[in-house]
């Protein structure tokens, strides 16, 4: 039995949960802890936090956030963004993260993967790849939250990351991020066929059909999503007085006109997987929750 993991992604800027399109135009959606708790209670299999700015100021607030999260949320938590050294990694693990996601620092210095895997174990090290399709059809890896080209071919890089000791690949399409157009199946498939470590598909989920598609046709081992969950949560359950002045509801109304994201909940996502004969963890009703 192999169970697909459903992994909400929370992009974090300072104390806030943000979301953009193509990793740009970030808007504040609310407090990450509120969303994280909701996703945990609704059956998320893991969570991933990405610090999209990774400034020195943001770092301390991120560590606090990890600590708070790990005190009340008992599923694996991956943290990425701005981790440059083994010491940086140690700090987020000490705060309560289970795994780290490395992108920019790993491309600039691939031996960081090896050093970190040796120290903390491969299963702790996720290499995060942000990919953009070139006119030639080849995929290029980007760093610095999608801002910098590297000239590095995505499939080659994924293989190298595996060789250096990465335990998983988190693979995101910048072209699809926030658009709701569906995962980039070709991208996901090209990497999942090239490596034997798990590949987490990210970027583009906008409706339920996209999930079974990327698992069946892209060979994804796990699925990650952001807007589809965040928008649904805000629309249905959430009003955070602290953020009312940020105009995020207006933002949502606006963004719905330009993207194809239809909101969904984690149970809806999991039911859609089960309907497509894809195994995943479901929370059983019972008296164990005492």
């Amino acid at each position: 039995m192999f169970n697909i993991r459903v992994i909400p992604r929370l992009d974090i800027k300072g104390p806030n949960l943000v979301k953009g399109v193509h990793l740009e135009g970030l808007r504040v959606l609310g407090k990450p802890e509120t969303f994280a708790r909701h996703y945990y209670e609704n059956g998320a299999d893991e969570l991933i936090y990405i610090d999209v700015v990774a400034s020195l100021y943001g770092r301390n607030s991120l560590l606090d956030m990890i600590k708070k999260t790990s005190q009340e949320i008992f599923i694996p938590l991956t943290v990425g963004g701005g981790l440059r050294t083994v010491e940086d990694i140690q700090k987020v693990l000490r705060a309560g993260a289970d795994k780290v996601a490395l992108n920019t620092s790993a491309i600039n210095n691939p031996s960081l993967i090896k050093d970190a895997a040796n120290k903390f174990g491969s299963s702790t090290i996720v290499v995060s790849i942000a990919a953009k399709k070139k006119n030639s059809g080849e995929y290029e890896a980007y760093t610095d939250n999608g801002r910098e080209k590297t000239g590095v071919n995505v499939v080659d890089w994924a293989k190298k990351a595996e060789e250096k000791g990465a335990g998983e690949i988190y693979l995101m399409s910048i072209d699809r991020d926030g658009t709701g157009l569906g995962y980039d199946i070709e991208l996901i498939k090209s990497v999942s066929k090239a490596v034997s470590i798990p590949v987490i598909a990210a970027g583009g989920a906008g409706k339920l059909g996209h999930f079974s598609d990327v698992i069946k046709n892209g060979n994804a081992d796990a699925i990650s999503m952001a807007s589809i969950l965040h928008y649904n949560y805000i629309e249905n359950n959430y009003f955070d007085a602290d953020y009312s002045s940020e105009g995020n509801i207006e933002f949502l109304k606006g963004i719905k006109k330009i993207t194809k994201v239809e909101g969904a909940t984690i149970p809806e996502i999991k039911n859609s997987l089960l309907e497509n004969n894809i195994s995943c963890r479901i929370e059983e009703d019972g008296h164990y929750d005492i």
């Binding site: 192999f2 008992f74 694996p76 705060a95 309560g96 174990g121 796990a222």
Partner: protein, 233 residues
């Protein structure tokens, strides 16, 4: 803690690997005083011990040897103090490991540790490590219930979080309490033999079901303390 004397102390043995902090948080969530330590004295004084661990069998044994903890742990096991081994911590309770040749473990449970060799599900290859959620199943033929065990109150087939390449093969006639299927493999995912408990999954990362496991551990520590106090009288 002086202010809260009813809290049991749990020594989480720090072997330098993995996320010990989530174990500590899970302890504190259920009201256990879990603390990270590699001190012989602190381990001896604790009400219970958790052996955590991610990483390699040999590295873990090297660390325990260099900290002179092997005998401390064996003595604790003999004193009936509850010891919960999680993942690699379960594996090092066994006689030996097989990563890079045979390597002696703590030898508290007879049996050894094996690696998944090309696991597959209906001809489709599965990945190693097994990284994700899988079911723990009651063992047929033995007790119908997990009552009195570390898995009490969990429904049969509960999903727990796993992250491992190796599994244990304990030679226990009545201590294996749960098995798990990974493709063509069926392995022991939980055993409980007296005061020695092993879990291949990570309860501290297994949501509410995992928290139930930590609550059950309190009950097991209470029982140990009652016996200990009765013996004293």
């Amino acid at each position: 803690m002086i202010s809260e004397p009813q809290k049991f102390s749990v020594a989480i043995v720090d072997m330098g690997m993995g996320n010990l902090f989530s174990i500590k948080q899970a302890c504190s969530y259920v009201g256990l005083d879990g603390f990270l330590t590699s001190s012989q004295e602190e381990i001896n004084n604790a009400d219970a011990i958790i052996l955590p661990g991610m990483g390699a069998f040999g590295d873990a044994m090297d660390t325990l040897e260099s900290l002179s903890l092997v005998d401390v742990l064996k003595k604790s096991a003999n004193s009936k103090k509850p010891i919960l081994g999680i993942c690699l911590g379960m594996q090092i309770l066994m006689t030996y490991g097989t990563e890079f040749g045979h390597r002696a473990g703590l030898n508290l449970i007879e049996g050894h540790v094996e690696r998944f060799q090309n696991p597959s599900d209906g001809g489709i290859p599965l990945k190693v490590p097994q990284n994700g959620w899988n079911r723990i199943d009651k063992v047929p033929g033995l007790s119908d219930s997990w009552k009195g065990t570390i898995l009490e109150n969990l429904p049969d087939g509960m999903f727990m979080y796993f992250n491992h390449s190796y599994y244990v093969t304990p030679k226990l006639s009545d201590g294996i309490i749960a098995t798990t299927r990974y493709g063509n493999y069926k392995f022991c995912s939980a055993f409980q033999k007296g005061n020695l408990i092993g879990l291949q999954c990570h309860p501290e990362r297994s949501g509410k079901a995992g928290i139930t496991v930590y609550r059950n551990f309190i009950g097991i520590i209470e029982q140990y303390n009652r016996t200990k106090n009765n013996n004293r009288i």
